[in-house]
Symmetry: C2
Subunit: 96 residues, 2 copies
Amino acid sequence: MIVIVAYDISDDYKRDRAAKLLLSMGFQRIQRSLYAARGGREKARQVAAALKRIIDPVTDRVDIILVHDHTWETRIVIGEGANIPGAKPKPGVTLA
Amino acid sequence: MIVIVAYDISDDYKRDRAAKLLLSMGFQRIQRSLYAARGGREKARQVAAALKRIIDPVTDRVDIILVHDHTWETRIVIGEGANIPGAKPKPGVTLA
């Protein structure tokens, strides 16, 4: 399974802490606020508990989605994201 | 099925156009750069083709993921995202 984390965090310091936390938990940066890692429900719970301690529960938002490997590997990717610090460009997987 | 769109677009004008496009295609804003709509592979292809015409293929990045309703409904949501213009707060669905 793949754990996908998307966050929308207003405060720069909190956002930076969240990014560092995710990288330290083995997540790969896909986009500035989109990360993915191999893992299951337990990993999803762990990252949720850890992010809960960082974000502002009113202004900010985190969505954590658990998908099958196939779902992730067959997603459509457009663009290289060369501006995204730390993100590894992945050749697009086009369904068309 | 649910079509999830996450984008990372550097240019303000292009990002605004992408947001308007997604809303016009019936997507709901979940986070600033995360949208979701009911739909299948064809909707995923259509939104991909439309976004391809907007983004900068080198600097920007779009990931489009097609998931089952259950996968989306059982995602973990933390925070209300009150700062996110247009996003409808959704009570958290916690797996824990």
